[in-house]
Amino acid sequence: MSDSIVSLIDVEKSFGKNKVVKKMNVEIKEGEFLTLLGPSGCGKTTTLRMIAGFEEATSGAIKVQGESVEDKEPFERDVNTVFQNYALFPHMSVFDNIAYGLKIRKRPKDEITKRVNEMLDLVQLKGYENRKPDALSGGQKQRVAIARALINNPKVLLLDEPLGALDLKLRKQMQVELKRLQKKLGITFVYVTHDQEEALTMSDRIAVMNEGVIEQLATPREIYDRPFTKFVAGFIGESNIFDGKVKALHDGILDVETSSGTMKVKGSGFDVGESIHVSIRPEYVKVNSDPVEGFDLKGNVKDYIYMGTVVKTSVDLKDNIEIKYSRFEKDEDFKEGDSVNIYWNPERAVAIKAKK
């Protein structure tokens, strides 16, 4: 536990009757890039704001470096925030915006100048110091906001959907830059986003949140390959999810009965007759003209969407369920309307316990 820099212990937050964060426990490790990922309204921004001190937890404790911070005002905490819409002070120049944290602390003038110049170098904004925020592009504003938050040498940098307002190309570029910056400075980043792709590219660990609860906290790879819950499986990347019951189990492989037919999935800790979700990524779905042992998923090929090197197709199964699958364009395959059998490597599918 000694290496965790921020600890949330049983943290809850309600706005009136509305419970936004429920019994949350997280240990954020020193120097890691942790992302809070979830749809809007899942409580991720509220969690961030509680760490920053803008919201007070209804119950539970928040510790920074082992020290409880409930009693500390935002301006007394060693964490800094990069705001969603940058929140640059419109009446101040880039220089004054970045210098703000030091000026407030009444640092000597030459120190301020030196530090601001270092920051301008760091975010590659030399020469822009006299501009007002209005005269900057979105990406430039973003850099100023980061520089401004970093000048106080915070223990933790909190970033609230910082790239949300940028266009796709710039967002991708900033993702790389942010990750590089974090590695270089070695500061802990706590990053809030609803964009799963962004989370997967940048994070050391991802906490997937839904309705005030962390559904899974793990590395991007684990989250993608081994989702714990149906929500995580559906939210991260594209997935086909089937609801069914375990029919039989042997050698760590489950036979599952669903309304679309039977299928196989690797899994352990399940009983016969138990409710289960099976998740399979489109890229692992395979198609055959003859039935494959253990699978009974028949249907007709429906759409055929060409996307460069990949082709996305879907097959209509029984009970009006549609399964998506993708494959490389050059691979030989079936045409629209063909009757096919679906199967996959049971190792590639994920068995998820149904919630009671």
Binding site: P74, V79, T81, F83, Y100, I104, N152
Partner: protein, 288 residues
């Protein structure tokens, strides 16, 4: 082709923008030009206007009696403005920090008294403070004073009337500029280490300055030209520029002098607006 543009463009624009333009030219531009013209004429023996160029009226303004009134008016308008801003800003701030639903009700609560006739509200101060009014009765009964105090027809009571009449015009623009202030800016300041006080002076105050300036204009200029407050509460003893102008077109009949005083007010107004437009756009002024 030409007929077509006429029908599609010229005719609708003439029909729509025409009436308002005509009205403004007839009843704003012309009278304004005419009053400036009259201010450079002189007064005849019987109160008529002698149509010959003269600076007589402007020279009269420098005359000590008139000059004193002008200074007194400017001072009174200045004090009213400063007090309205000082009293109004914390009030506006308090309302702006309430949830939107509550804030709009609180704003409504400010407006309701202003749907009572303004003269009757002024008259109420007179009733309250008159020689045998409630305030004097209370002070006499508690033994604070032995003889009734005379509040009525004093500069002090006029000031009470001015401030209570003008306060909403100070509060509303400041309220809307404080309300518009993004919460994240204040949070960013706190996040970077500034206490509430420091944030107020570094962020809130400079960013709500346009609202404060709107308030200054909306209070100072009307205060400068007001005569109803002095008439109702000053009983003819307290005179401001507004009273003097009114009298020149009434009993005293010195149109050029009244016109010159009006031009003075126009110049002061223009000057303030010019300064204002250097900070903000006039279209953004919260007039309502």
């Amino acid at each position: 082709m030409q007929k077509n543009t006429f029908k599609r463009k010229t005719l609708p624009s003439l029909a729509m923008a025409g009436p308002v333009s005509l009205w403004m030219i007839l009843f704003v531009t012309l009278p304004m030009l005419y009053i400036i013209y009259i201010s450079f004429m002189s007064r005849g023996v019987f109160g008529d206007v002698v149509y010959k160029f003269s600076l007589e009226s402007y020279e009269t303004l420098l005359d000590s009696t008139y000059f004193k009134v002008i200074l007194k008016s400017i001072k009174a308008a200045f004090v009213t403005t400063v007090l309205c801003i000082l009293i109004g800003y914390p009030f506006a701030y308090y309302i702006a920090k309430k949830p939107k639903e509550v804030a709009s009700k609180l704003i409504m609560l400010i407006m309701i008294p202003f749907w009572t006739n303004s003269l009757m509200r002024l008259n109420s101060w007179l009733l309250l403070f008159q020689t045998s009014g409630p305030v004097n009765n209370f002070l006499l009964s508690t033994g604070f004073i032995d003889t009734p105090m005379s509040f009525v027809y004093t500069d002090g009571l006029v000031m009470v009337g001015m401030i209570t009449n003008m306060l909403p015009f100070a509060v509303l623009p400041m309220y809307s500029s404080i309300e518009k202030l993004s919460r994240s800016l204040l949070e960013a300041s706190a996040d970077l280490g500034a206490s509430g006080r420091t944030t107020f002076f570094n962020i809130t105050l400079p960013l709500t300055f346009p609202g404060i300036f709107s308030s200054i204009i909306l209070v100072f200029i009307p205060s400068l030209g007001i005569y109803t407050v002095t008439d109702m509460l000053g009983g003819g003893k307290v005179l401001y520029i507004g009273n003097i102008i009114k009298n020149q077109f009434g009993s005293i009949r010195n149109w050029p002098l009244g016109a010159a005083l009006s031009v003075l007010l126009i110049v002061i107004t223009g000057l303030l607006i010019y300064i204002y437009t250097r900070f903000a756009k006039i279209e953004d002024m919260e007039v309502l």
